[in-house]
């Protein structure tokens, strides 16, 4: 340390000390940080929702819906309807598993990987870095904005997909399944899984975007990791998102039966587990963002 004596106010950067920064009411920090978080969210929500990025996400979310509508008109669909709601349920599980590992996964990549890289590419990250805002808040604000955008989109499209899987049963069959059978519960669980998946994968891609330049490399690496999850030892399994998500499936999808049976865990443990996993990744991302320098020229 240099011998400079620094006054208390300067040594302990506290958000409450600016004359403009709110009247001092003891613990003003939280209020200030809340407003700053909202400040970041305002900007980032606009990016997440009104950008070309989001068009790609919307396409990924809605393409399966379109396909399912076409499918509902085919004779195969009629056959499934003949099998009743049980068969439709396992088909829904199967379709959902595919949807999760493609549409949801890729959308998380698109939404989150560019949270920092996008700002670097358009050379505007320094506006944040020159603001009196903690990097943790910046990371959290960016994350939440993308999560909100993704959650709303995918909760909706997941619900649509689920409903379409039961459409061949006819409207009366559908409403019987929803309101007299387990349908509504399952629908909400699937929508919940999508929301958690976007958040979980989102954390990973946010972090990846801080370390890796190339989104394709990150996507392939993480996709590979998630795909081999069934074969991993128990401890490593816990370091993937799919591990947590699978435990929520209301109906096991056919090809993944054995994985579920191998490791039955309670949702009461998995939700906190997944959230903890996300917090850890966000903490790591904040640490990384804290050390970042502005060096646009390098790209």
């Amino acid at each position: 340390m240099s011998g400079l004596s620094v006054p208390e106010t300067a040594q302990h950067p506290s958000l409450g000390q600016d004359p403009r920064a709110e009247p001092q009411t003891g613990s003003t920090d939280w209020g200030m940080m809340g407003r700053q978080l909202w400040g970041v969210l305002r900007i980032e929500l606009r990016y997440s929702l009104f950008s070309r990025r989001f068009l790609a996400v919307a396409f990924l979310a809605l393409a399966p819906v379109g396909l399912l509508i076409l499918w509902a008109l085919t004779p195969v669909a009629k056959e499934i309807a003949g099998g009743g709601s049980t068969q439709a349920m396992s088909m829904a599980a199967w379709i959902y598993a595919g949807y999760l590992s493609t549409s949801v996964f890729l959308s998380a990549l698109i939404l989150f990987m560019s949270l920092f890289r996008g700002d670097i590419l358009q050379r505007s990250l320094h506006y944040y870095f020159l603001s009196p805002v903690r990097r943790q808040i910046l990371v959290l604000g960016k994350f939440l904005a993308a999560w909100i955008a993704g959650a709303v989109t995918f909760a909706t499209s997941t619900a649509l997909i689920y409903l379409l899987c039961f459409l061949p049963l006819g409207l009366s069959g559908l409403s019987r399944h929803l309101f007299q059978g387990p349908g509504l519960g399952h629908l909400m669980i699937y929508a919940g899984i999508s929301v958690l998946a976007i958040g979980g994968y989102g954390c990973i891609f946010l972090l990846a975007g801080l370390f890796l330049r190339n989104p394709v490399v990150a996507g392939v690496l993480i996709f590979g990791w998630e795909s081999i999850n069934f074969f991993l030892p128990a401890l490593l399994k816990k370091l993937s998102v799919i591990f947590y998500l699978q435990s929520f499936y209301p109906v096991p999808p056919p090809q993944e039966l054995f994985a579920i049976v191998a490791e039955p865990i309670s949702p009461w443990l998995t939700v906190p587990g997944l959230l903890l996993f996300m917090v850890a990744l966000l903490a790591l991302a904040s640490w990384r963002a804290q050390r970042m320098e502005i060096n646009y020229g390098e790209d």
Binding site: S2, L4, A10, P13, S124, Y127, F129
Partner: protein
């Protein structure tokens, strides 16, 4: 007139100096390398309140120095204090610091108003306050009429002013401006200069960079001359201006292999003289071309892994450097 004595540590300060340190921007032996590439080398500087001009040709390290004092870059070596705080230590300093960078870039899709307003909200200000500060800033740079138009549709000069407005919007005490006059027409230039003077009169620290000396020396209280990553001179402008006459620059250097450095330097004809000190730890060099000399010196230092203690311009040579820089302002780019 003061000269940079490059290597005097500012660590042991008397009480008045300490107080001064809280009102100043202090570089203590700061170096920044981009990998192998030198950004700035062993800069020791104190920038007091008022307007400081940072002058040097392209690639001399102006932006690097500014990014360092605003925490966008971290020094490879040395320490920086802005109003007594380290720019990379916390976010608190940014309530008092505004930086208009050289990057002509904006967050996508925003109007001029939204651009300034949005980042005031990131500061944590409530709507009414952010709104009124935004209009004040737009007013000061004369951009109110275009406030509700998208920045993408602005002219270069308007974008420059929008970024300036953003940098001053939170009424900082320290304002760092990287080539703020670039792209402005003479009218806007005069207005912006008047704004800087007004802000300085209000007690704001202003640091302005330019590769054109006469552009800033008229408004600066002091000027720092940079060349190839070294501070070649700093001092108050009136003193510098009085005696301009040509003679070779004399550089004193202390390092671990002075004879090697001397022999390498001597291979070039723009080095007039290189003589070793008796203690074999230093050498004196006289050269006619500061820029080529510093470029050469950097590569010799890097190539031979030389441990440099100090590099200083000997007193009396400021004007030659100054002259050199004026003379090259046109071709300097």
């Amino acid at each position: 007139m003061t000269m940079t004595t490059s290597n005097q540590p500012t660590t042991e300060l008397s009480t008045p100096d300490r107080i001064a340190a809280h009102q100043s921007i202090v570089f203590d032996n700061v170096s920044k390398f981009y990998g192998e590439v030198l950004g700035v080398n062993r800069v020791t500087l104190t920038l007091p309140p008022g307007i400081t001009g940072l002058v040097g040709p392209n690639g001399s390290g102006k932006t690097t120095l500014m990014n360092l004092m605003t925490g966008l870059l971290r020094p490879t070596d040395g320490t920086i204090r802005v109003l007594g705080e380290s720019p990379s230590a916390g976010q608190h300093l940014f309530r008092h610091l505004g930086y208009c960078t050289q990057f002509d870039a904006f967050p996508a899709g925003m109007t001029g108003y939204q651009f300034i307003y949005s980042f005031l909200r990131v500061h944590g200000l409530a709507h009414t306050e952010a709104d009124s500060l935004t209009w004040q800033a737009l007013e000061r740079v004369n951009l109110k009429d275009a406030a509700k138009r998208r920045v993408e549709g602005y002219s270069k000069g308007m974008r420059q002013r929008a970024r300036l407005a953003q940098a001053i919007s939170h009424q900082p005490k320290v304002l760092v401006l990287d080539e703020p006059l670039n792209g402005l027409d003479p009218m806007a230039r005069a207005e912006v200069i008047a704004l800087f003077q007004q802000l300085a009169a209000e007690g704001c620290h202003i640091i302005i960079s330019s590769h054109i000396l006469h552009e800033v020396d008229m408004i600066s209280d002091q000027v720092v001359l940079l060349s190839s990553g070294y501070v070649v001179a700093d001092g108050d402008v009136s003193g510098m201006r009085t005696e301009i006459h040509e003679h070779p620059i004399q550089v004193l250097m202390r390092c671990d292999k002075p004879s090697l450095v001397a022999s390498r330097l001597f291979e070039h004809d723009f080095v007039v003289e290189a003589s070793l000190h008796d203690d074999r730890r230093g050498l004196m060099i006289r050269t006619r071309e500061a820029d080529r000399f510093y470029g050469l010196l950097n590569s010799i230092i890097v190539d031979n892994d030389i441990d440099v203690e100090t590099v200083t311009v000997a007193d009396g040579d400021v004007n030659a450097v100054y002259k050199y820089l004026i003379g090259n302002e046109g071709e300097g780019r």
